[in-house]
Structure formats: C-alpha cells, structure tokens
Amino acid sequence: MPTNGVPTKITQGSGTKGGIGESTLRPDGTLKVTGEFAYSSDMWHEDMLWGQILRSTVAHAEIVSIDTSKALATPGVYAVMTYDDLPTDVKNYGLEIQDTPVLAHGKVRHHGEPVAIVAADHPETARRAAARIRVEYRDLPVVTDEASALAPDAVLVHEARDDHHIGHVPHPNVVHRQPIVRGDVEAARRRADVIVEGEYTFGMQDQAFLGPESGLAVPEEDGGVHLYIATQWLHSDLRQMAPVLGLPEDKVRMTLAGVGGAFGGREDLSMQIHACLLALRTGKPVKIVYNRFESFFGHVHRHPAKLYYEHGATREGKLTHVKCRIVLDGGAYASASPAVVGNASSLGIGPYVVDDVEIEALALYTNNPPCGAMRGFGAVQACFAYEAQMDKLAERLGMDPVELRQLNAMEQGALMPTGQPVDSPAPVAELLRRVKAMPMPPERQWESSEGADVRQLPGGLSNTTHGEGVVRGVGYAVGIKNVGFSEGFDDYSTARVRMEVAGGEPVATVHTAMAEVGQGGVTVHAQIARTELGVTQVTIHPADTRVGSAGSTSASRQTYVTGGAVRNACELVREKVLELGRRRFGSYHPAWATAELLLEGGKVVTDGGEVLADLADVLGDEAVEVEEEWRHRPTEPFDLRTGQGNGHVQYSFAAHRAVVEVDTELGLVKVIELACAQDVGKALNPLSVIGQIQGGTTQGLGVAVMEEIVVDPKTAKVRNPSFTDYLIPTILDTPTIPVDVLELADDHAPYGLRGVGEAPTLSSTPAVLAAIRNATGLELNRTPVRPEHLTGTG
C-alpha cells in the first residue's frame, strides 16, 4: 500500500497521564447523560424578560402594513420592535454576503422569516402579544427551483445585488457558480468504451440538534451588552452583531452557553441580535428560547440538490472522464452557499483519479428555506451522486463495485480536478479493502426459538413482517472531504495558555474562544496541554470573547486549528518555563544548558530521563502566560473560470459498507450494519474519534432513509416542522457500526492529525442507498428513499 505513514515526531514525552492518544473522558459527559448539564435554554436571570419572534406565514410577499398597537397594549409587554426600530443603518447580516434582514423590510422572502420581536415578562405573554401583531401581506410569485429561478421573466429574490459574486453569475438568482475544467472531456469521451449518465435528487436535511436556539442578553452599565449564547463561532457572531446594534465590538461581550448540538446549524445567527436589541431597548436581561417548531425555521438546512452526472470508462474500468452539474438550492438568503458551491465543485468527482473533468456547481436563490452549513458541507450531496454513478458503471462493465473504485482510487500525489496535489496519505483503496474485509453480520438474525424478534426486522416493533418479503442487500461507498476553511480564507485560531502553581501543584489553564458543541475540544485541549507541559491538572477556561477568535467549530477543523493553536501556545509557555528554570537552577546542573529538556509528570527532565527540577519549584509564584494566533498553511481561491487553485488545506477519507434488510413488499428498511474505515492521521482521543465516526455515520443513514424537510412546491411553505414528521434515527434504527481507524500521519498537521467529524457523513448515505438497490434491483436516484419509492406507489 503506497503510503508514507511516518508519525510526526512528538517532541514532548508520553510520560504524562491523560495526554494525547488516550481516551480521556469528556468533563461534561456524566452531566449530560444524567440531565444535569446546563444548556443555553436553562439560563435564568433575575428580572429577565422573554423575547418572542413573529415570523412570516407566507414565503414571498410584500409587507403592506404592520400594526403593533395591540401587542404594545398587552399588559406585561415591554417592547415591540420592527424594522423601523433598528438603531443603525446596518440592518442586514450574513456570513459572507450581508443579505439577511435582521427584521423583514418591505417584503419577506421565505416562510418563517422574522418580521417583529416582542419582549414581555412571561413567555406566554410574549407569545400572545406577538400573535396580536397584524401584518398585511401582498403575495408575490414564488421561486422554488431552477426552472422558476432562471426563467427569462423570473422574479428576482434579491432585486439589487451588489455582492462580489454578482459579476460572474449567469443570473441574479444564482448566488455563486463555480466551474472546474481540466483536460479535454470531448476528447476523453471518444476514448470511453462505456458511458453512464444519471440524474439525482438530494432532499433537504435538517441538523436536528436537540438543544433549540437560545440565549440570554444582559445589558451592561457601560451601555454594552453581554450575550450568553449557544453558537459555533463567537467572534463571527460578534462581527455581524455589533454593527447592527450600533456598538463597538468591545462593548458586545460574548460567553458560550451550553450547546445542545450544532452540525452547522449554528454557524449563522439566529436570535442573537434580536435578544440584544430587546435587552438594550428595555434595559433588562432578555432570554429567547425557540420551541421545536420555531427551531425548524430558526436555522439554515442542508442544501437540497439536483445532480447530473456523466461518467466514462474504458472496458477495463479506468475512468476516462467525468462531467457533472450540481444545482444546490440555497433558499432565500446566501448564508454559506458560496463556500458550499466551492466544496461541491472541487470535491464533485470524489476520491478518484480522472484527468478530464468538467464540473459546474451553483447555488440558487429561491423562496425556499435558507440553506447553509451542515456536516459534510456540499461534499455530501456530490458523494451521493458520484457513488451511485460508480455502482452504475460497475454494473455496466460487469465489474465488482469495490474493485472498480480501487482501480480508480486516488493515492498520495494525485491531482484534484482543481490541479491541487494531494500531498498527504490518501488511502482510498485501503479503506475500501478494510471495510470489505470485515466479517459480515449473520443472515436472518431475527430468527429465535421464540419466533421472530421483530426488533431485528424492518418495521421493528411495529410488527410488519416476521421475515416475509425481506431481502438483504450490501453496498459500498467512499468519500472525500476537505478539512478547514478553504479558498484563501485566513483560517486561524487563538489560544491563551497559562501555567502557575496552585495548591503546590503546577496547573495549566487553556483559554480559547472555541465553541464546544459536542466535538470534544474541551477533552482534547486538556490532553494537548498535559502532553506539552507535563502537568496533570488542566483547567479549561469557559469560551468567551475576552480571548482572540478560535474560528468556527465546523469544517472538521477545531482539533486541527485550535488544537494546533493550543499546542503552539503550550510550546511557547514551555520555552518560557525552561528559560525560567535555566535562570533559577541552571547553575546547579550542566544538563540545563546542554540537554534537550522535556516537561513530564510535573518535572523538568532530560531526554535521557534525568529529573532536573519540580515544575512547582521552577515556577515558584510566577505565572507564565502566552496568547498567540496560529494558522495552518494558506490556501488559494479557485479560479472563477477554470476552478484551478490550491484551495484546500487537507483532505479526509472514509469508506462504508452497508448491510440492509429490506421488506420489499412494504418498502421498509432496516440497516443491519454500517461498517466504516477512516484515516484520522492521529487519533488524539480514540474514544472521541469513534464517537464522531459513529455519529456521522448515523446522520448519513438518517438522510438515506428518513430525514427530509418537505417544502410545498406551490407555496414554498414547510410541511413538517416537527419531530413527529421530521424523523431522525432512534437507537432501533441505528445499526451496529464497527469502526476501523487508520492513522497515517499528515506531516503538515499538528501531531499528523486529520479532521474527523465530517467524512463519515458522506459515504454512509450512498452506501445505504447502494445496499437498498442491491436488495431491490431498483434504480433509486433520490434520497431519502421512502416506502413509496420501493413499492411503486409514489
């Protein structure tokens, strides 16, 4: 196997307990399992008011009038605000394009858009008052798909765009378009012995985090505001909020509150500005908590997509060319759409070597719900389609689908369609080999001496089959995901590390603004500090904006980037500590000057293991502190015409094998097993790594067989904003997930690590679909697949 899996040198000793590579436990794990963890929705403040948002009941309409008088007259109401009450000229926000109104101005562009906000002394009072606001709408035609968005007489979702993409998009209803052209597809097509085409549909998935959007804004004496908030990136929120509030950034203080999951859904602002506006208006703390219904309108979703693919290959199975077109529905506001387009295009053909490629990806503006970041970020939709194509091609060629993939798999040194060389291990063929080699789950596991165990069958406890109509299927898929922010973004993180003696012991404190959303940064940062500083006691300071930005908890980047920043700051602290030691004790032992020194087990030791001093003695009553920004190597934007450029920081790979049982008569699916093999470079915390892989795998299963926000194509209204009708997998839907973790170091990354969180979300979905196709013989070109698709009753 062609890899150069030499682990990077770990300069610090492994002699300190609880360092990297160990499965230390989450500090908040027990609290979360026992229900004692304080989430953002649990916060309370004396005298606080409750905020409520009035949202549009229609998808696209002019606002003729808003009458707030009855709401204002409601006893217990402290404030009602509309667009006219915004304090400054900055009335929009957005991650990249500031196109999202804080409160609707003159029109609404999607179902559930915020129109007015209310603060009252009781949540029920706030709710009733909001319901008394009269909004008169004049309906506008809705833009819902590519045809209605790009028609010559199409209604423009945004009439007067002045963002930096408008110059290169083919139509004002296109947010961003990225072509990638490499080689000569026309010529390559002539060399192809077989060509397969496919048209695929990916449904709208929701992050479905369990902790609804919530936060508490507390006005401060200096005229500023302190927001306690569940988010993915404190400083990004701050940058968008301050101008709208009319406050300098240092008067908007942010502290991370307990986050109940994120998955990309907290990259955009939700109630942040609304709570602060109401707090500043009333002079009182204001809490806002969405209920589940509102949460479905309160964050962006995964882009639904239409994908058109053509794959060509020689008789022997070598890919000659790939041509594809990926149309993502961005909904009413841009959110992360441009970056999602960048991912969908640059990762659009998967982890395969193809010299002749034509890719086009674009995101539309429509009146559907806004879509943006979600785990997998543009790579998920593409993987679903290109992996279906690989199976189709294998079938056409009469080849084994895994062998076809392995024959075309990229290796280290391969060129991406963007021309970027993959300069770290890319064990694509090996990951496939590993999932294929895992033992198969036994057949007919439902059979027991007491009859059928329905829990092992499609339908589960609903008791729909005792084995009748059940057919097993097996499917494979592999995917490629980028790690970190791409396309030239200055993607840095900041860490402040302090070392001092407390209670006679050396203690390290790690302070970052990293949002802990469940990914395990709080565990890993402590491990890094222990390894680098040789201490056992590490305090993780609450995340806030009193320290520099940590960047977003997304793009599988936090262990890499903030982990890298913590390691870097620890190294600087270590140097200072050793400097202090040399000053204090250097004269007692020559090794202080001559040997390579390590911090281990609370002591300064030589690389030969000789103890020179206790850290506590070295530090005395001094504290050593460093705050420093850290960056991964820079990336470049993709060329707007050719898509060429070294756009990505690192690539991450995972492969899945899905085993399903399908009740072919009822169209019900039970996923029996989803085996995964993934290269993680270096598992800083193996338990967390497996948790991430199993979680990502399950989220991919969800969108394979059940998860979809259904939007009415005529009205653009959401039809299932509840957990009654937006289904996510329960434990009975979650299969056994055997995980094979490969650790092939990326020499460019801290400790050789590779971002873990997203790659397993990619290949899980197409593997399940492939297994269902294998069981049923049906073509199945959309996900999620529903019973009516399997029974011809759609």
Binding site: R127, N291, R292, F293, R455, P458, G459, G460, L461, S462, N463, T464, T465, H466, E468, G469, E665, L666, G667, L668, K670, V705, M706, V710, R719, N720, S722, T724, D725, L727, P729, T730, I731, L732, D733, R786, P787, E788, T791, T793, G794
Partner: protein, 296 residues
C-alpha cells in the same frame, strides 16, 4: 388557561358540565404536544390524575373493563393474554416514557385516525363507557368515531373506561411507519379471529378520515372460512382467499396523500398487512386447533 383539579369522578363530571370546553388531561402525551405546538390553547384544562379508578382494570367473564388512563405499558405487561391485539398495538406507541403515561382514553378522546389503539379496539370489539351529570352510557366502538378527530362524546361527557371483548382467538396488529420505533402511523391494521362466533373483525388506522373496519373483507372471509369448513378442519387458507381479503381491505381505505405517505402506498400497505396478519393469526389458530384435537 384555568387548571381544574377534581378530586373525584363526580367532581369531574360537575366541572365538565359547568365548563364543556374543558379539555381533560391524564397522561398528557397528546394534549401537551398540542399545547407546546400552539395548536391548541384550551380555556380550561381538567386534570384527571387525582381520580383513582381511571387507572385500574378489571377482567370479567366476557370482557376487560379498562380504565381510561391505564398506561400502555401496563396493558403490555398485564393484559397480553386477554387483549393481545391491543397489547401489540401498545408496543408500537411512541417511546417507553410515553407508554408509561399515555392510555387508551386519550387515544379515544383525540380520535385521530392515526391513534394506535383504534384498529385493535375495532378488531377486538369494544364499548366506550362515557358519563356526564346526565348519566352514563356505553357507545359501541363502531359508532364512536364520527369524523377526523371527532367522536360521539357529548360536550359534557367524559370517557371513564373501555370494555373490550376478551380474545377468543388469535389477534394481530401491524403498523407502518418510516422509522423502526417511535413513529406515527402511516397506516395500521388490526385483525382478530373470533372462533366463538366464527367471525373475523378488522381495524384500519390512518387510511381514512376515521379508523374503520373493512366490512366487505370481513364478510368475504367469514363466508370463505365457513364454506371451506376451515374453522373445523383447520386447513390452510387458500392463497386466492388471502389475496382477495387483502384486496378488499385495501379497497376499504379512503386515504389521502400527505407528508407521511401517499394514498396509493397506504392502500397497498394495508393490503400487505391484511394478508400477513391473516396468515399469522390463522397459522396460530390452526396450531391451537391441532393441539386441541390431539388432546381430545
């Protein structure tokens, strides 16, 4: 919203007479969802949890008198032999937490076509014991469901208990949802064999505006079983009979397309469930029959 907490059944009836818009709440597994979703803001909520006998049951000669608030978990645990269809249906209700709280009285009060208990009650045969200050009466289950989320209760009446016929033969229950647990029905099917009267009864959920029986299918099967002497000879049901029964069950449906499934799928799935549950119950009946013969 006013919260009424009657200490006795009589107080509850008086309160309901005084406030006919009061919404009774026991387990709260349905009412609270409606309130949380803002679908409903009743003027009065009436808590029935202080009234003791609503969560008790009594097994009689012919039937079980099931208190309106007996939780599904208890039915699964204690009444599996007497009410096998309802016990199977109870298994499919939501999650363990919900099954510990919710009961059949709530399912009947809401009268949603998707309520899990309805097909089992229709198939077993049941009467709903209701009462008001004007007096008590029993409503046959076949006359109970009057429209989408409407039932035969008068505004001042409360559901006190359900009298369900004890099983005199095998019963089965199947429900289709797009998840393997904790899922609202796309459609559901209940079947009960009644060897005592040589009849079969069916119940269909979520495939018509109300829970329904497939009467034509029942009559067809009754006749076919009689004609073939199958109740006595215990022979296998001919595939053509099972197929026709399934077709008639599917034909009894009057489903809609909605976010949970298509009308065509519902009709199709009811047919599949009808055929399968007929096989399961009949095989079980034949098995018992053979044992009886052997003992004789």
């Amino acid at each position: 919203m006013d919260f009424l907490r009657p200490a006795s059944w009589e107080e509850a009836l008086a309160a309901k007479a005084e406030h006919p818009t009061a919404v009774p709440i026991a387990g709260g597994t349905d009412v609270m969802v409606e309130i949380n979703f803002d679908h409903r803001r009743p003027e009065y909520l009436m808590d029935l949890n202080r009234i003791g006998d609503l969560d008790a049951w009594e097994v009689g000669e012919e039937s079980v008198r099931l208190g309106a608030s007996v939780p599904y978990a208890r039915i699964m645990e204690h009444l599996r032999a007497e009410l096998p269809g309802l016990a199977l249906a109870s298994h499919t209700v939501a999650s363990p937490q919900i099954r510990n709280r919710g009961g059949v009285g709530g399912n009947l009060g809401t009268a949603s076509p998707a309520g899990d208990a309805h097909p089992a009650l229709l198939a077993a045969g049941a009467e709903v014991e209701v009462e008001s200050v004007r007096g008590a009466r029993r409503i046959p289950i076949d006359a109970f469901y009057t429209g989408v989320k409407r039932n035969a209760l008068a505004p001042d009446e409360l559901i006190r208990a359900i009298h369900i016929k004890k099983a005199d033969g095998p019963q089965q229950y199947s429900k289709v949802g797009t998840r393997n647990a904790m899922v609202i029905a796309v459609c559901a099917f209940g079947l009960a064999l009644h060897p005592g009267t040589r009849t079969v009864r069916t119940g269909i959920g979520s495939a018509a505006p109300t829970p329904i029986r497939a009467r034509a299918a029942e009559e067809f099967l009754d006749a076919a079983l009689e004609e073939g002497g199958l109740w006595d000879n215990g022979k296998t049901i001919p595939p053509s009979v099972a197929k026709r029964f399934a077709e008639l069950c599917a034909a009894a449906c009057n489903p809609i397309d909605d976010v949970r499934g298509t009308a065509a799928y519902r009709r199709h799935a009811v047919g599949v469930m009808a055929r399968r549950t007929l096989t399961w119950t009949w095989e079980s009946y034949r098995g018992a029959h053979r044992i009886t013969e052997g003992a004789a």
